[in-house]
Symmetry: C2
Subunit: 188 residues, 2 copies
DNA sequence: CTCATCCATAAACCTAGGTTAATGCCAGAC
DNA sequence: GTCTGGCATTAACCTAGGTTTATGGATGAG
């Protein structure tokens, strides 16, 4: 994964069709409902990918922290509008290029193609894991798993966003925390 | 997706390292906790992929109906034990071959490699959609969506398995159905 | 045919999480 | 400094879903 990022960055950087962008906190890379087939290679910052439901509620699909690659696959592969938005939670820097250009690069560069394939495999495994967690874990178990595996990220987001990622309300998350704090106080 | 299946079947069928298997209802293709790096190309039948949690509860990751490809990616890519089981809900026929063999085939056959890449993309999109549904939809909404998109499948599985797929208990599913039936009776 | 098993439904009760509203805290704007 | 807006917490109340148990129907074995 880190290899992929380093290599992609290096190769894309050489292109003249690649743009370097810098967005402030609160800005959107792209917006749910818009078609955006660009690939974003983030080098610095923190982004959330969010769905907004018909009744106006926001849920968080994932976070991308520091370095990472993201984009709307629905737009890239099918030309459809994005089903989610990408919003900066901190000042962000990224390289961006059209997906078609990236595809063309892969045709010319088998190493890049192979690594991209690996990247999609990795992404697939991550999504499979999240599916597992939604299916098999309680909200409380999901919270502990999240804290375990994302200690740094947890310190950089609000409780609202953490709850929206776990699929619960911020109030429920607060309850889980105090419940746990009481248990810890008892055992101490 | 259908193209992929037809092509894979055709190409794999020519191999002598490919086995043709036929399993009866109730049997497992592979078992959670075992390492199984085989690729299964089902030609007929119905399979469920299931997680069993530490407290003995079963949850269904997905169904494969009629024709489809499945296997444990954790075993294939990482050599780790499978996190789920694959169980026949009906008599099943499939071709099976080691993942390494399949990989080798892809190296020799760029068309197969390309289609496999597309297949993984398609799989990724499906998982992303399921993530979206778990995040954004209520149990009831998920049920309606499932019935809409999987009318045939719905008729071939028990309510227990449908509930285990939606992430609720069979009792809750029964309640959703009666609730809806009452509303329909009223409006009729 | 009978018996056993599995499945669907229903009722009664319990619990986790959603909803609304109030409070206190902190940080940035001015 | 004050004012403001966003965040975290708490409480009170409500609802969806889980748990347990019972019942009736369908199915398959003998």
């Amino acid at each position: 994964m880190d290899d992929f990022l380093a290599y992609v960055c290096h190769q894309v950087w050489k292109l003249n069709s690649c743009r370097k962008v810098s967005y402030t906190k609160g800005r959107d890379f792209f917006h749910q409902g818009e078609t955006c087939s660009d690939v974003f290679i983030m080098t610095e910052g923190l982004v959330k990918l969010t769905y907004v439901t018909h009744d106006g509620k926001e849920w968080i699909k994932s976070f991308i922290m520091d370095k990472g690659v993201f984009g709307s696959r629905a737009s890239q592969s099918l030309g459809q509008p994005s089903t989610f938005s990408a919003t900066c939670l901190e000042e962000c820097r990224a390289l961006t290029l059209p997906y078609k250009t990236f595809e063309a690069m892969c045709v010319d560069d088998p190493k890049l193609a192979g690594m991209t394939f690996q990247f999609f495999q990795w992404l697939g495994l991550k999504k499979e894991l999240r599916e597992h967690d939604f299916l098999c874990l309680s909200a409380e178990e999901q919270y502990w798993k999240f804290m375990d595996e994302n200690a740094v990220l947890a310190g950089r987001i609000t409780q609202i966003d953490m709850a929206r990622y776990l699929g619960i309300t911020p109030i429920a998350l607060s309850r889980i925390k105090t419940r746990q704090a009481k248990i810890e106080a008892k055992s101490a």
